[in-house]
């Protein structure tokens, strides 16, 4: 996997700042690596001398289809730094979210948020990504990560 020189690092950093309030300095130690299938990985600046031997690099952080879509992996790591578009859940809704369900939320949960991708938060935990449309949160948790958690 090669770092894609045509990949617009600044566009992604602007999105993260505008959407989530994340400063670009958080990503100074890392490169973005784009694949032909529209996946973007956040990984180390230095790679190895034989890129053909690489299976993967860093962490999948975005899918670039028509728009920039952040992954749950990324939002979990930087969640503590996210100041905008956070949705604080109660236990009942957090449980539904972790099981992979979409949520219909009362407006009291949705202050200071706008339509688009949001960080789902329960107490001090960054749970993952959701897609807000009105009062509906479309669940973005990967199927492999969905789990029945017994201890909260």
């Amino acid at each position: 996997m090669n770092e894609d020189l045509t990949f617009d690092r600044n566009a992604v950093l602007s999105y993260l700042l505008d959407r989530f309030g994340l400063p670009s300095s958080l990503f100074d130690d890392y490169n973005f690596y784009a694949t032909e299938k529209g996946k973007v990985f956040l990984g180390p600046r230095r790679s190895i001398s034989r890129p053909d031997k690489i299976v993967s690099i860093g962490l999948l952080c975005f899918r670039m289809d028509n728009a920039i879509k952040p992954t749950t992996n990324l939002l979990q790591i930087v969640g503590n730094h996210i100041t905008k578009n956070r949705v604080e859940l109660d236990q009942k809704n957090a449980e539904k979210y972790l099981l992979g369900n979409d949520l219909i939320l009362d407006k009291s949960f949705l202050s200071n948020v706008s339509d688009g991708y949001v960080l789902m938060v329960y107490k001090d935990h960054s749970l993952g990504c959701g897609l807000l449309r009105g009062t509906v949160i479309k669940n973005q948790l990967p199927k492999a990560k969905r789990l029945d958690v017994k201890y909260w």
């Binding site: 130690d29 990984g43 180390p44 230095r46 790679s47 031997k53 690489i54 962490l59 972790l98 329960y122």
Partner: protein
């Protein structure tokens, strides 16, 4: 307590190796405590201890590593903290190799984990590197790389490059740190699974001994001058431990062993004499981990520097 018993050939082979054979063989018949590590990429120990306290899950910190815990509660895998990758269920012995080089890791920017899957030590090393620099995580087995990727994702590791190569064909060099946690006969893991005894025998030990002698030379050659390598196995067989180090010392004049010490953790001495073979006295610097000393798996550890 398992209904299984140790094969006579195993008892015969290792009767004279430990300082306390009776305690050694008895310990192998007891269950391993449940242990986990706090993943400092995503959380800290005070946060996790506080949350577990709220759930009524008691956990005991290890005296030798502030992020390591034992618990009698078998449900730690069903906690939100485990789900989010804030804790990693990991045997104590598996935490030792990264711990042995924690100071070096904190200041290194190019590190090689030769046999990385499923990633317990890789994720720990990434945390000790503060998720910065470059950690090349290699494994020869592509199927096991799936588990490696899953664990790296879950724990939020960003600084890795995953490769799928036979270590004997790796050409990358100049790593500041190399970890070779070698494939082995895994005798030391039998407290977790007696299944290792199903395939155990002289033939398996001989195979791994030969393979490890090849791997340790390649791992050492990937090291930059002045760099540090850790060699570890989860087996008791001197053929796969001291004999492999002896092979390295005999074939690489620049290889120098450094003392293995972990404050608060009891370590055993290596053997310098096995089945008529005498090993270099330098090997005294390596260490054995006997299961009866710290209520753990069995393990072997050596720290090597490249003096050029």
């Amino acid at each position: 307590m398992s209904s299984r018993s140790l094969p006579n050939s195993f008892i015969e082979r290792y009767r004279d190796l430990p300082d306390d054979p009776e305690a050694f063989f008895s310990s192998l018949m007891t269950l391993l405590p449940k242990t986990f590590r706090v993943n400092t990429i995503k959380a800290n120990r005070d946060f996790v201890v506080s949350k577990f306290g709220e759930y009524g899950i008691s956990c005991e910190p290890a005296s030798w590593y502030c992020d390591a815990f034992t618990t009698k509660n078998l449900n730690v895998g069903a906690t939100l903290e485990h789900f989010l990758g804030q804790i990693y269920i990991q045997e104590f012995t598996s935490m030792l190799p990264p711990l042995l080089i924690r100071d070096e890791l904190s200041s290194s920017s190019f590190v090689f984990d030769c046999c990385a899957a499923p990633g317990s030590k890789t994720t720990q090393m990434a945390a000790l590197m503060s998720n910065k620099g470059t950690l090349v995580a290699n494994d020869v087995d592509y199927d096991r790389i799936r588990a490696l990727r899953f664990n790296l994702e879950k724990t939020g590791v960003l600084n890795t490059v995953i490769t799928n190569q036979d270590l004997r064909h790796v050409t990358e060099k100049n790593f500041e740190i190399v970890l070779l946690d070698a494939p082995c006969s895994a005798e030391g893991t039998m407290r977790k699974s007696y299944g290792v005894l199903d395939i155990w025998g002289e033939k398996l030990i001989k195979y791994h001994s030969g393979l490890s002698k090849q791997l340790i030379l390649k791992a050492f050659d990937a090291l930059a001058p002045g760099g540090t390598m850790v060699y570890s196995t989860c087996t008791f067989a001197p053929d796969e431990n001291e004999a492999v180090l002896d092979h390295l010392i005999s074939n690489r004049a620049s290889a120098k062993l450094l003392p293995v010490t972990i404050d608060g953790f009891k370590l055993g001495k290596p053997t310098l004499d096995w089945h008529g073979q005498q090993f270099s006295s330098e090997i005294r610097s390596a260490a054995r981990v006997w299961p009866h000393d710290n209520d753990t798996d069995g393990f072997f550890l050596a720290k090597v520097t490249r003096n050029e």
